[in-house]
Symmetry: C2
Subunit: 217 residues, 2 copies
């Protein structure tokens, strides 16, 4: 059994944040496939693992951790990578983790999910989410003016968190290159890190099986 | 000048999280009124203070901190109150801070804002936000079965963060007592802490001035 076990699936950018950290740090890890699209996260068994009903979940020794930001924080300690140097940097990372969860991933991921995986999403809700996502992208874009990464010259878990959904391309329904060109360049900078892999290569479950409804049609 | 200066306004539950910590810890602090409803957070001067354009902002000595979760974390250190004991508790607090920003405050506050302060909010968006907020309240409600506070027997910044919007009553458009009775009892437990004050008493800007549009009508 691998040292780290990550419950995840390919379409989850939140899981990707943790998977990418494990990958870039060269950890001995394995993916435990969570069949989200067939309801696994709503089962009692999964809720026992994570009462919040979300991926990712990291298992390491006798620890079980959820919330991508908690897992990233934990991995900075166990792997010695992508972490802060001192309390000021720790809080600066926390600032971006919170912004990511509240605003950036919060709206970008929800918009992408409805845009890509829902039948007949409500147009008003899509518009609402897109406006909020664009505003968050604008904040990050402005911050990256003169900064290669969130904390300046080197990548940290702030970047690994915020980039979680940035590689899903057209699924996002927002053209990052057009809306936030500095974010696009930062995304490409992360893709250039040694060992980087796309979420659809790094985690199981892609492509989705054909929709049985569509098959019958 | 007071030792701590908090940029805030009465209607912001995110600012209240920090104000309540300062209040309960007995700090020497003062509120700096941010006239959100007249556009202050969109001015260049405010963006220079916080490029994310949000309240709260805490100024302490030569530090300027934003994001409520960062401020709460900082205050655990400077005041020695509501903090973790050890790394496991620190991560458990972080788990709830992230859940709060992503899901609980993320949806509850946005729903309340549109429900209370927007003219003619889109009904589909309100429904979407309400469903998400109720799901998050359900997660917290289940967790509080047998726990007085997020970490068990004593209040921490996880509670101060998650309770940020819980005292706005009918403005929420969700009846917490009905939807999540354990959350309601936990909210009342927090209101019973020595020194507790309602956000409309603790921060400036309430009640809102009459809407000039309405005045003219």
């Amino acid at each position: 059994m691998a040292e780290y076990r990550l419950s995840c699936f390919a379409q989850s950018g939140n899981a990707y944040k943790a998977a990418l950290h494990l990958q870039l740090a060269g950890c001995d890890w394995e993916a435990v496939f969570v069949d989200y699209f067939n309801g696994t996260t709503r089962t009692d068994a999964y809720r026992a693992l994570n009462p919040m009903g979300e991926v990712p979940v990291l298992q390491h020794g006798d620890r079980t951790l959820s919330q991508s930001g908690v897992i990233l924080d934990y991995l900075t300690e166990t792997t010695g990578t992508f972490g802060p140097q001192g309390d000021d940097e720790r809080r600066e990372i926390l600032r971006w983790l919170l912004f990511d969860n509240h605003k950036l991933t919060g709206y970008l991921a929800t918009h992408r999910f409805m845009n890509t995986f829902m039948d007949g999403p409500d147009a008003s809700v899509l518009t609402f989410l897109k406006q909020r996502a664009k505003a968050a992208l604008g904040v990050l874009d402005a911050h990256l003016d003169g900064n290669d990464f969130a904390l300046g010259g080197r990548p940290t878990i702030a970047d690994l968190s915020m980039c979680g959904y940035m590689f899903y391309g057209d699924e996002l329904g927002i053209d990052i290159d057009e809306v936030a060109p500095r974010v696009a360049r930062w995304r490409d900078r992360i893709a250039g890190l040694p060992g980087w892999q796309h979420p659809y290569d790094l985690m199981p479950g892609h492509p989705l099986p054909p929709d049985p409804e569509t098959e019958r049609a």
